[in-house]
């Protein structure tokens, strides 16, 4: 039982938190701007490198230096929106989707140029696990990731249901044409979307970097499960994406638990595949996703 919690459940929730943080932005951007943002993984990477630089300069713990990475990633997405995505907004969205592939490549190349392509680590040395009652032994990072996602879930729910900007975002995602007729300031809503999406991606990037190491493909390697999470949750529904991320993270980790015999149920190298299998099965029976999202 303890082994299940220590080695499968908690790591699953932590991985799910990282997916969820990225998927919320993907889902929001799809809801408001109507395109799949393929550069989102590389926004995560930018946030991680921004934070890494702040750690080098200040010597602070990565989670304390995180605000620097957040600002860095947000400025990058706002600039990219202004220069690349905004001029394409009136065209069919496939142009913007392809542009976001281009932006992904630009981000990755710039990262390699500035920081090099070698692996970096936030904190050197082996991290001691947190031990509770001599039974629970988990990594501090995983607990931090879970705490962050709980905080984000509460804040996001409050923002979307109680604030004017949050409600306007849901309105645009529901019916963009009517939102315009109702006089909502679409550009302001778009800006808010990038700020939130960029911030959460930066946090996800730093958590992913802390979990393994930092390299230019850090975020790109996570883009598929994050998209799966956004689709699973119901595309255009940020809370759904959060839920979807947690489900995908858990399924990946729990699929290699020795459920039936002493052997892992599914070889850990197929972890990612199980998440997709789960998504495919769910979408066959509930194509709108967990939280009734938009259908294509």
């Amino acid at each position: 039982m303890m082994e299940f919690i220590n080695f499968y459940l908690i790591p699953g929730l932590a991985l799910g938190s990282i997916y969820a943080l990225g998927a919320i932005g993907i889902s929001m951007i799809f809801g408001i701007l109507r395109f799949a943002h393929f550069a989102h993984g590389d926004v995560m990477t930018l946030g991680a490198y921004g934070t890494l630089t702040a750690v080098w300069v200040s010597g602070l713990h990565p989670l304390l230096a995180l605000p620097v990475g957040i600002v860095f990633a947000v400025l990058a997405v706002l600039a990219v929106d202004k220069v690349f995505y905004k001029p394409l907004r009136e065209l069919p969205t496939i142009y913007t989707v392809i542009a976001s592939f281009g932006v992904a490549l630009i981000f990755r190349s710039l990262i390699q140029l500035v920081w090099g392509s070698q692996n970096e680590v936030f904190i050197r040395g082996v991290q001691k696990p947190v031990v509770l009652f001599d039974l629970i032994r988990v990594s501090l990072l995983h607990l931090e990731a879970i705490a962050i996602i709980i905080g984000v879930a509460i804040a996001l729910h409050y923002f979307l249901s109680r604030t004017q900007t949050g409600r306007s975002m849901r309105a645009v995602s529901d019916n963009a044409e009517l939102a315009r007729v109702a006089g909502l300031d679409t550009e302001k809503i778009v800006r808010a979307t990038w700020i939130i999406g960029g911030s959460l991606a930066a946090i996800a990037g730093v958590l992913a970097g802390l979990d393994t190491n930092i390299q230019p493909n850090l975020g790109w390697n996570l883009i598929l499960p994050m998209f799966a999470a956004a689709i699973l949750g119901g595309i255009g529904k940020p809370m759904g994406a959060l839920l979807g991320g947690m489900v995908i993270g858990l399924v990946e980790e729990l699929s290699s638990y020795p459920w039936l015999t002493d052997e892992p149920l599914i070889n850990p190298s197929y972890k990612t595949a199980t998440a997709f299998l789960m998504m495919v099965i769910l979408l066959i029976f509930r194509p709108q996703g967990l939280l009734k999202g938009r259908l294509f």
Partner: protein
């Protein structure tokens, strides 16, 4: 009295292709003006032009003596013009209260609670549904939500695009009654309608459009009594 809305020689359409040609239309304060005509006559295009959703090729649109042709949709709401589209006119996943709230964002009313109170007095059906997603309501109730949303910004001029489209006869009557009640609060109404006979019966004046041009205009009662209009646009027989 100077008109609240004056459309003068308006030619407009989509992507450079004119749908309406040299349209003239006047709306005095507190009037109910109805635009009728066959399908494809360009009725909705007139409303959409006022609301900056078409491309205007020539002519002028003046609201309260100010030229508004070419002013962005977003800026018209704070000026006191509110529009209710024909279809997809609610935010389905937002609750009824949130739908009403959206109406206050572009043009915050002086006293929000008071405006909500008066909107709910007009639409008492909505009181019990305030926390329900608007997408779960019936067609008639949705129409009330979208009218309520538009009224939340305390508009001077309300543009209604076929407010009874697709509603059951029971609701049809109620919506026309509500439109009269809305006018009673001092709001001017310009509406396009397919149910021409009922619309003319509540209209102060009406315009008949054919092929994107002005065909006739008169008081609602006179148009209802006009044989030619009745034959061509009201489906023949005299109302009983």
């Amino acid at each position: 009295m100077s008109p609240l809305l004056a459309i003068d020689g308006l030619t407009a359409g989509y992507g450079g292709l004119p749908i309406i040609d040299n349209i003239n239309l006047l709306v005095a304060p507190k009037e109910i003006i109805v635009v009728i005509g066959p399908n494809g006559a360009g009725k909705s295009t007139v409303l959409k032009s006022v609301f900056a959703l078409t491309s205007i090729l020539s002519g002028s649109i003046r609201f309260a003596n100010q030229e508004i042709a070419g002013i962005a949709t977003q800026k018209l709401v704070p000026m006191g013009i509110c529009a209710v589209p024909q279809t997809r006119n609610i935010f389905p996943s937002l609750t009824v209260r949130e739908n009403l709230d959206i109406g206050t964002y572009a043009a915050p009313p002086r006293n929000r609670a008071e405006v909500e109170e008066s909107v709910l007095t007009l639409f008492p059906d909505l009181k019990a549904k305030l926390n329900q997603p608007a997408g779960e309501l019936s067609g008639g109730q949705r129409q009330m939500v979208t009218l309520g949303r538009a009224l939340m910004s305390e508009p001077k001029l309300l543009l209604l695009d076929e407010p009874t489209a697709g509603l059951s006869p029971a609701y049809l009557e109620r919506i026309f009654d509500l439109i009269l009640a809305i006018r009673q609060t001092g709001i001017t109404i310009l509406m396009v309608e397919q149910n021409a006979r009922q619309a003319l019966s509540i209209a102060d004046r009406a315009y008949v459009l054919v092929n994107g041009r002005n065909f006739a205009s008169d008081t609602g009662a006179n148009l209802l009594a006009n044989d030619e209009i009745r034959r061509s646009f009201l489906g023949g027989s005299r109302p009983s």
